[in-house]
């Protein structure tokens, strides 16, 4: 199962890559929303995107709205992983089509728990 991690911080992409590979995901990375859209267009389509909000070029919220406008990408699960923790913005992202919202700082267990809730991980491996 593939995951795309979208964050302008290489450190954060590396931390998330480690969490995801530990539960068996194949992980690709993008440094902003536009790079991520390009990666989706080039394929293959990931099962899930983990998305930072505050990024240069294209922010995570705009990325979510762009993905949700493309019917072929409707099955991609979108999880915000961000410091953006205002109630209004959480509601805005979920309304735009994000499935889950994780606020940094997080623990690996918190990410895995969300993946389990989304039905993407079971017993420490991709479902």
């Amino acid at each position: 199962m593939r995951a795309l991690v979208i964050d302008d911080s290489r450190t954060m992409r590396s931390i998330l890559r480690r969490v995801l590979t530990d539960v068996g995901f194949e992980v690709a990375e993008a440094g902003d929303g536009q790079q991520a859209l390009d990666a989706l267009a080039d394929g293959p389509t990931p099962a899930i995107c983990l998305i930072d909000w505050n990024m240069p070029v294209m922010d995570g919220y705009t990325f979510v709205t762009r993905v949700r406008a493309i019917p072929e990408w409707r099955n991609i699960t979108l999880m915000m992983v961000t410091t953006e923790s205002s109630h209004n913005n959480i509601v805005k992202a979920l309304a735009a089509g994000a499935h889950e919202y994780v606020i940094k700082p997080f623990t690996p267990e918190a990410i895995i728990e969300k993946l389990e809730l989304l039905g993407l991980v079971r017993d420490g491996a991709p479902a």
């Binding site: 911080s9 450190t11 410091t83 209004n88």
Partner: protein, 161 residues
Amino acid sequence: MSTLESSEQLLPSTDDLMALLEQMWDSFVSPMPLLPAAPAPAHDWSTSVSVDGAWSGRITLYLSDAGAQLIAGRMLASVIAADPAAPAALAEEDLRDAIGELANILGGNLKSLMPEPSVLSLPVVEHSPAAPADDAAPRCRLDLAWQGEPVTVHVQLIASN
């Protein structure tokens, strides 16, 4: 009374700031505690983000060279451990990215405690032996140490654009 002075009550409490810092440290750096310390006379690195909106301020983290290396190394520990070819000392680019992300996380969480709406800037990381600014603007400050290295956090109100 200036606008900034009348806004002093809008500064975060040092307890809130410490709680955010400890949570971030525990998740990404180390469970070893940050301890209260005397103000450090100088720092080598600063990493900051600004918040602009209903509440406007700048959150800056000041670190020593050794502290920045240690902290970035801990943040990237699992990555380094997985790469046998990783060099002993972190590249400056990796160090800048790691401590920039700390300011981003601290600023983003602090922003949620302050009046909304507001926008968070991207982090700015600077390598210069500058002490925290000591101007007249109201501020909240924590002087701490981790692994014997100074960690100073400074929150300062700024005039809204």
